[in-house]
């Protein structure tokens, strides 16, 4: 029998990026908040020691900071005819674990999705007609650009993002991204200093008539004091971002931006190494009364709360809803139900160029250090004569130039021995790459549900991912690979290798941790699990915050939009919901 604890105003499941932001905003509004976090407490000063944080074997190869499958695994299949099998190790994507979540080990690419993303169905229908997207389950997000823009601004200033505005209140700015939607002000910090490869890429792209700009970065170009008074350091370009925590206080994370203030508040508490099993509803299923969790000793507790905020990783948010029966499971056959709907991923390919006599020095790197062109992203280019919609940002980043993982070699190089050694030494200094990170659009048959066979250590069904790259996205990616092939020509490289994405998603090699959807936001309760404020249509005192709310994934990294949605939901809760609890949008 679970021990029932005193009631809190709000119970947060997961203290990562969104949980920290929600906790900060709700405690500011005077609420008593507890966050229940499955993983360990983590703090820069004690856990991210700059003197050993660059241990590539420990962190990048052995994945020290990540969720391990013995804690929670998932099952995978490409289509409904297959029997899903559990991932025995996380590969294609790497969910975070512990306080700070995936925000601890991210790279720091901080994008804003576009105006045309939030109203994607309306936009594409108007421009190309409904038939163009008839095979896709694209839908508007319910929130408009003008509504959400201030929340992007809040997140960027919280993090101290380094970048250059491309569109200030409708005025195109030289040096920025001309395709971005209008922003209300400049980035809080100037762009990072560019390494040689990115500089060469930008120069070559510019000569070809494209519009390169510095990738907006949560690695800080200079020391910064954020609006909460938290101080951050300047990035040292050490190149240990992805899969690592920053020991330098120079990569924005919950630890470096929010927690120093949040943890001192008397109306906030975090319980780490406590795993929420489910959200408990009243018998009519319309109100969440508490969450049940196990502490590190396996003791069961029930934590009542007036509001429950599900702030875990996108895929875990969906699973928590399904385990708690918040909303109805999506059925790909009938299209009924909303939880699990519109699961999307990321559609990427890359180009690698080999030169002679260069010194690219890739050890001078950072997680989000590079130049991008968005000329082929989203709907920045005309799709009327093309057999797909969507696109990709093409970025040349200098990152992960690390001794174990970064060994680019020419095709045909032996895989071991003296020749391999020589080739890796040559390849390290003489090669550079750029890649397309493409949109992932929803289709009827890509979805999430509970696995009928496999369970976790507590006997709960695992999440089942049914996914393959839709034909639309494959066509998009091939088009982007064609463009990249053309782009490689003026570099006059000794050799250029451009990859082409194939059908048949493989969950083993690492691709991207950008899993989105499954609890998407929208204006129609028949096609969205949460309303435009990320409030459950079915259980109005539950909010589900994260990339799970994305109605589709754009050709951009999700965290900027995740952060904006966190501020957006927090504002709705603090200014609307707590004054008058109940559904904020009438179904």
């Amino acid at each position: 029998m679970a021990r029932v604890l005193p009631k809190k105003d709000a119970v947060i499941i997961g203290l990562g990026w969104t949980g920290s932001i929600l906790a900060q905003q709700l405690t500011d509004a005077g609420l008593n908040v507890v966050a229940i976090e499955r993983g360990p407490w983590r703090d820069t000063a004690t856990d991210f020691n700059i003197a050993y944080m660059q241990d590539e074997l420990r962190y990048a190869v052995r994945k020290d900071l990540f969720l391990q499958p013995n804690v929670e695994a998932m099952t995978m299949r490409n289509d409904m005819s297959q029997t899903a099998l559990p991932m025995r190790d996380y590969g294609s994507f790497l969910p975070g674990n512990g306080v700070g979540g995936a925000g601890v080990h991210w790279n720091g690419h901080t994008w804003r999705f576009w105006d045309s993303d939030f109203s994607i169905r309306t936009h594409l229908t108007q421009r190309y007609g409904a038939a163009k997207i008839k095979n896709l389950q694209l839908q508007d997000w319910g929130v408009t650009w003008n509504e959400i823009e201030p929340s992007f601004d809040q997140f960027e200033y919280l993090c101290g993002i380094s970048g250059k505005a491309g569109n200030l209140k409708g005025q195109i700015q030289p040096g920025g991204n001309p395709f971005e939607s209008a922003r209300s002000r400049e980035y809080p910090n100037p762009p990072m200093k560019m390494p040689y490869a990115s500089t060469l890429f930008a120069q070559t792209m510019k000569e070809q008539g494209y519009h390169p700009f510095p990738l907006p970065s949560a690695n800080l170009s200079q020391a910064y004091v954020n609006p909460l008074g938290v101080r951050m350091g300047q990035c040292s370009y050490c190149g240990f971002c992805e899969r690592f925590a920053c020991g330098n206080y120079s990569k924005a994370s919950a630890q470096t931006t929010v927690l120093p203030v949040l943890m001192k508040k008397p109306n906030f508490e975090v319980r780490t190494e406590c795993e929420v099993l489910k959200v408990n509803l009243t018998p009519d299923g319309k109100h969440a009364k508490s969450v049940t969790y196990l502490d590190a000793n396996g003791v069961e507790y029930e934590q009542p709360g007036d509001i429950v905020l599900i702030c875990a990783y996108a895929l875990m948010n969906v699973r928590m809803m399904l385990l708690s029966r918040i909303g109805a499971q999506y059925d790909p056959k009938t299209g009924a139900g909303t939880v699990g709907r519109n699961y999307c991923y990321q559609t990427s390919s890359g180009a690698r160029l080999f030169f002679e006599g260069k010194h690219f020095n890739p050890f001078i790197g950072a997680g989000s250090l590079g130049q991008t062109i968005d000329d082929f992203n989203g709907d920045a280019f005309d799709h009327s004569k093309l057999d797909f919609v969507g696109g990709a940002g093409i970025s040349c980043t200098v990152t992960n130039g690390r001794p174990i993982g970064n060994r680019p070699t020419l095709p045909g190089t032996p895989r071991w021995g003296a020749k391999w050694k020589q080739a890796t030494a040559d390849g390290y200094q003489n090669s550079m790459g750029f890649g397309s990170q493409g949109s992932s659009y929803p289709v009827r048959e890509n979805y999430l549900d509970l696995d009928p066979t496999y369970t976790d250590r507590h006997g709960r069904p695992l999440l089942r991912v049914t996914f393959d790259f839709p034909d639309n996205d494959i066509a998009m990616s091939h088009y982007l690979s064609d463009q990249m092939e053309k782009m490689t020509e003026p570099f006059n490289a000794k050799l250029a290798v451009v990859s082409r994405l194939k059908k048949g998603w493989d969950s083993v090699p690492y691709q991207s941790t950008h899993n989105t959807g499954g609890a998407v936001m929208g204006n129609d309760p028949k096609t969205s699990a949460v309303n435009k404020y990320l409030q459950s249509w079915d259980v109005p005192n539950v909010f589900v915050i994260g990339a799970s709310a994305f109605a589709h994934n754009a050709g951009m990294n999700p965290t900027g939009t995740v952060g904006a949605l966190a501020f957006w939901a927090a504002e709705a809760i603090t200014t609307k919901y707590i004054k008058s609890p109940g559904a904020l949008v009438q179904a």
């Binding site: 000063a45 101080r231 120093p260 001192k264």
Partner: protein
């Protein structure tokens, strides 16, 4: 019923007065940094390492069995100002009664009123764990006879701010408990010229321009005490606690007073000058510094809004480098305050740098960018490393 009404009326009258005085008393807890030694809940049991052995701090909550619930105001005042507990039991000056002796009766009374309102905690503490013969409490009579000289500290020729500052620094603030060097019997000698304790070196607070605060403006001193940081330095170690528990909670007026007083302290003896004949150490240290330290502290030693500068940082230029060695070997965490909430950490480099490397880096840091201070030897680093390993 009647007595209930009467009692309610009495409470109604008494409460506002009590509330005002408990606020004043709570402020005295901050001024005196009671939490620093007696713990957040004031129930004691915190270990103090002294040169004479280990002491545990006492329980000062109003618990009748294990705290000071049976004290009267007079008992309390006697303990605070004379070091004598009820029954004539002598306190050890680790409880800084030689400083508190300067406190006004009003402040003592306010503190007493507040302490009676805190939650009583049952926590029996075996305070005296000193080595023989220091564990003999009656010896403190002799100590008091020899060293306890509660002389007035005011100076009518000075400004009211200076006088308030003198009171705060020497009275409730008991700054000298850490910052004044001690004689062989643990009594203060030489005011606030810096001292070693518990493996740290509490820096010189005099107006000496090299080792002291001579290059700090009064607003620098205030900013440091209020936030834990300023353009020259960052509080860590025991001072981080003192800032968090005490100085960051002081009023602006009191911070001004302390700044005025400290800025007028006559310079101490300095740090004995720069390293001589240490060119090889400095050269090797420069290279090692660039590899291990420059990413945060800067090649120019100027730090940033987050990380402390090493150039012109008085704690880098103390006569003894204990604090620096300790920070490099074991790391540390800076003060986190309302106005500077980050509390950045210095990671431990003890596992990665050997004694020679640490000595070289610190000798370089202490003699570069305008700093001058004596060289640090590998033996010193080794001694501190062993002390850290043995947990003292």
């Amino acid at each position: 019923m009647r007595s209930f009404v009467l009692a309610a009326a009495l409470i109604a009258i008494a409460l506002p007065a009590l509330a005002a005085n408990t606020d004043a008393g709570k402020y005295q807890v901050a001024l005196g940094d009671c939490e620093g030694c007696h713990g957040k809940n004031l129930a004691g049991g915190v270990v103090l390492e002294t040169p004479f052995g280990k002491m545990l701090t006492s329980n000062i909550t109003p618990d009748k069995d294990t705290g000071i619930g049976n004290y009267s105001l007079q008992d309390f005042a006697l303990a605070m100002k004379r070091g004598v507990a009820p029954g004539g039991r002598r306190l050890y000056p680790a409880m800084p009664y030689p400083s508190y002796a300067h406190m006004s009766d009003g402040d003592i009374a306010a503190l007493w009123d507040y302490l009676r309102t805190v939650r009583p905690v049952k926590n029996s503490v075996q305070v005296n764990q000193l080595r023989f013969p220091y564990n003999l409490r009656f010896l403190m009579r002799g100590w008091n006879y020899l060293f306890f000289r509660p002389v007035p500290i005011g100076d009518a020729s000075k400004s009211p701010e200076w006088n308030r500052g003198a009171y705060l620094v020497n009275g409730p603030g008991h700054c000298g408990a850490c910052h004044s060097p001690k004689n062989a019997f643990g009594a203060d000698k030489g005011p606030l010229t810096g001292a070693s304790l518990q493996g740290w070196f509490a820096p010189d607070l005099t107006s000496d321009r090299n080792a002291g605060l001579g290059s700090w403006s009064r607003s620098d001193i205030m900013e440091y005490l209020e936030t834990g940081r300023n353009a020259h330095s960052l509080a860590s170690g025991p001072m981080a606690e003192a800032v968090e528990n005490s100085t960051s909670r002081m009023t602006d007026e009191d911070l001004v007073a302390i700044a005025v007083y400290l800025s007028e302290l006559p310079p101490g003896k300095g740090n004995g000058g720069g390293a001589t004949g240490a060119d090889a150490q400095i050269k090797a240290g420069a290279v090692a510094y660039d590899v291990s330290c420059a990413a945060c502290h800067g090649r120019d030693g100027k730090g940033s809004v987050l990380f402390p500068p090493l150039a012109g940082n008085a704690s880098v230029r103390q006569v003894r480098a204990d604090t620096l060695v300790r920070m490099v070997l074991a790391g540390g965490k800076a003060a986190a305050t309302h106005k500077a909430p980050t509390g950045p950490g210095m990671p431990s480099f003890g596992w990665r740098l050997n004694d020679d490397q640490v000595a070289n880096i610190l000798t370089y840091v202490r003699n570069n960018w305008g700093n001058t201070a004596p060289a640090v030897s590998a033996e010193t680093v080794g001694r501190i490393r062993s002390a850290l390993h043995s947990g003292s």
